[in-house]
Amino acid sequence: MKILTVAINTLKEAVRNKVLYTLLFFGVIVSGMSITLATMTVSSRIRVIANVSLANIEVFGVLIAIFVGISLVHKEIDRRTIFTIITRPLHRYEFILGKYIGLILTLLIQIAFMTLIFFCIELIFGGLEFLPDYLKAIWLIFVQIALITAVATMFSSLSSPILSGMFTLAFYIIGHISSFLEMLLPENANAFTVMLVTLMRYMLPDFQFLNVKGLAVYNHEIPFSYMAGATIYGFFYIAVILIIAMLVFEKRDMK
């Protein structure tokens, strides 16, 4: 209940934040641009629209997750609004979870809004038959964004927004190339480098595993077992990262 109170307040704050609307505005503009691109293409218009729109949902979702997430907890400490919150009968972990869920609710609204625009455009161009595949891709985009939000929340509870932003972005980029990390190693790499890369490979989440945009756009089958596995994989990382965030925050002095 108290977690929900913090979450709803976080959502309220985000809804009243101009940055969110600016990003949403640009998201809508890019969605609109997919129509222009589609009319200029010689291949399937539906695929071009789907390609641009799905990438658009992911990029703007990640941007909002990073921009809002990196200051999510830090701002509360910096402005000391946290002083009248965690001095109440509220566990610190409840505060972190509430802030996280609040931002996730905000992102869900953003994703739903952009998905609606995407589907409206698809409706105009007759691509609605592929909606189930698109929805699967959007769901895994949401899992990716939820994971990035967890990372931003963790860094925000122990570092400044600039550093948190840099770390979270680095996490996102490395997460996308982690499956190729070992391939990047030169043949004569020393044992330590190999060990380090292997460690990173297994510690960092593989965002490619959560990326089925290509399969959805080209209407390849995305089995339910894959969706379930990828979802559990993403949620496992989210849980681990949030637990780290809560443990770190529990020990922190609010000076």
Partner: protein
Amino acid sequence: MESILKTDRLTKHYKSNMLRRDITALEDVSFEVKRGEVFGYVGHNGAGKTTTIKIMTGLIRATSGSATILGYGLDDMRARRLIGYLPENSYYYDYLSATEIMKFYGKLNGMDTKAILKRTGELFEMLNLENAKDRPLREFSKGMLQRVGVAQAILHNPELVIMDEPMSGLDPIGRIQIKEIVRMLKKQGRTIFFASHILSDVEQLCDRVALLARGRMVKIGSIDELTVQTNQGYEFSLSDWNEEFLKKIEPYRNGGASVEEHGGSLLVTVMEETEKDKFLKLVTSSDGIKLASMTQKRLSLEDIFLKEYKVSHEDTDRRN
């Protein structure tokens, strides 16, 4: 009387940001706050008042020592339910209206919406915030924000209200209002922990006072206890005296009593209680001499505070 708050040798060390030097913010601070009293916590800036409050409210953790609220440890949620906290400055979500912020805090305290709205109505009426209840806090003046601060601190009817520099930055009207609120809360039977460096406010409002200097507790007691310990003599204010009377008090003057004329009165100050009794007899047995007043001269809280601060300063220098 039952103790609401008890601290036992609270100590807090910080690491300085740049040089990672060990800084002692609080050292071996022990005190008890009794139910129903206004407990003044006095110290210069940086004395450790806010550090103590932050430990008590769970914002920071003590390096060593302990504290309990009605027997519950500070990390215990039952202890948190018993306290209301007014921070030094107004740290509230300024995008929310006064009513919205009360709903938010009330829910965190486990109150239902109906109870929150009822209590908020009562508090806003008492604190003259009714006309501003739907305005966002960013439009509020400093005084209004401080009143919102008081409202959120007592929303859930806490046993112990912790106020950190509640007069900070307020104009005279705002200060009077806060004083009235403190008196009213005391009348309602609440215990108030009143941290301040404005000694006149503390003297007016507090039943007992703890003096803090450089992170150490230097004195604790009621205002009377603290000032009686610093007896500065007994002053007699006399009128209609004559030459004969002046001759009679010559032995007192020679014994160290001060005698001076001031505004048509003769002011005689004797130091010891036995001398006071003898002098009183002399005055009452002398014809025509009128005794206007007799008062025990004491150091003010401010004088005591300055004296203790100097002692602690010298003590720290010696240790270094």
